[in-house]
Symmetry: C2
Subunit: 222 residues, 2 copies
Amino acid sequence: MKIAVIGGTGPQGRGLAYRLALAGHEVIIGSRDASRAADKAAEIAEAVRQTGLDAVSVGGDENLAAAGNAEHVLLAVPYDGHGELVASLAPALSGKIVVSCVNPLGFDEKGPFALDVADGSAAEEGQRLVPDARFVGAFHHVSAVNLWKHKGPLTEEDVLVCGDDDDANNIVADLAKAVTGHRGVIAGGLRLARELEPLTGVLISINKRHKVRSGVRIIGLD
Amino acid sequence: MKIAVIGGTGPQGRGLAYRLALAGHEVIIGSRDASRAADKAAEIAEAVRQTGLDAVSVGGDENLAAAGNAEHVLLAVPYDGHGELVASLAPALSGKIVVSCVNPLGFDEKGPFALDVADGSAAEEGQRLVPDARFVGAFHHVSAVNLWKHKGPLTEEDVLVCGDDDDANNIVADLAKAVTGHRGVIAGGLRLARELEPLTGVLISINKRHKVRSGVRIIGLD
């Protein structure tokens, strides 16, 4: 698949773009600045080649062009400015699967906390702004460092998937194989992004307290 | 330890009381109705004896008396009526560790959803109502059916613990061994109950969709 990773110059986006490229997908890094996107794309392509893979396709472009040229779009951007960005990309997102990995979190002296989101979650906000895209929440909980540094698939963890369109959920659950080596767990409708997005704050708190890079596994599925 | 399980006549409370009694703790089932509490206590004690254990102490009493006679108190009650109940138990909770397993969830045609809680979470509501108790959120995610029916400890899952008092967190993390065979994972402060409580809704949605009894494991800790 040809996938744009909007926010692909940030750590989570870079890590996901790397894994998608490793799995043989064609990736376009999106950034506000096309030359930054191109630099990051070159860095990711080089990392893929260092694993011994020759056939690697990672390009970079300005956000709107990246989204427009892709089959599906992955949003790995900060929540700050999320609404404006999604609205500006609307023409390019129309009709596509949009994977939202956005975590609306704030930080204070007590650690991470969930920001108030009028729509309930960033994923639902995006869906409201682009009604004819198919928003799917996923990939919130995978450590950016593990995505980039860990050798091999992150087999111990699960990618949790939520969305209102079954076909889109299934495609994204399959896309999760690029990260974990196995299908993601479809949790239910897009509304569950209200719980999945801020769960990232719990993992960040665990990471800080236990000096680890944690992730989530759903047990009892087998 | 001598632990009161308020709401011990419900499925989650019964399951936790059973596991605590199996692990050798002295358990007092609390209910509005002392005779219902005594009946449930007898059922639980019999289930413990059937595993071959002779030394089992499970009693039943009216909520306030149960809480008053215990060293620590576990709240496994529905969110509906939670504030009034906690306020009524305040004199008996004072100075104690109060383990909150309360999940403020609603259900509609789309499945489970998080209820609006003015204090952010049931655990923080309880803490506000009884400031000199030490509230700790834990045991939200363990399947009531698995607690009651599964043979042996639920080794695959983690009990997530959150609270503002380190000593109380450690005691509750140790208490989790009664359920999983290993210490619970201290996630951070009590505020994280805002994420841990509604996460139960995600698990319920997964259970319905996949016809399983799911739970959570935090990976990357070892």
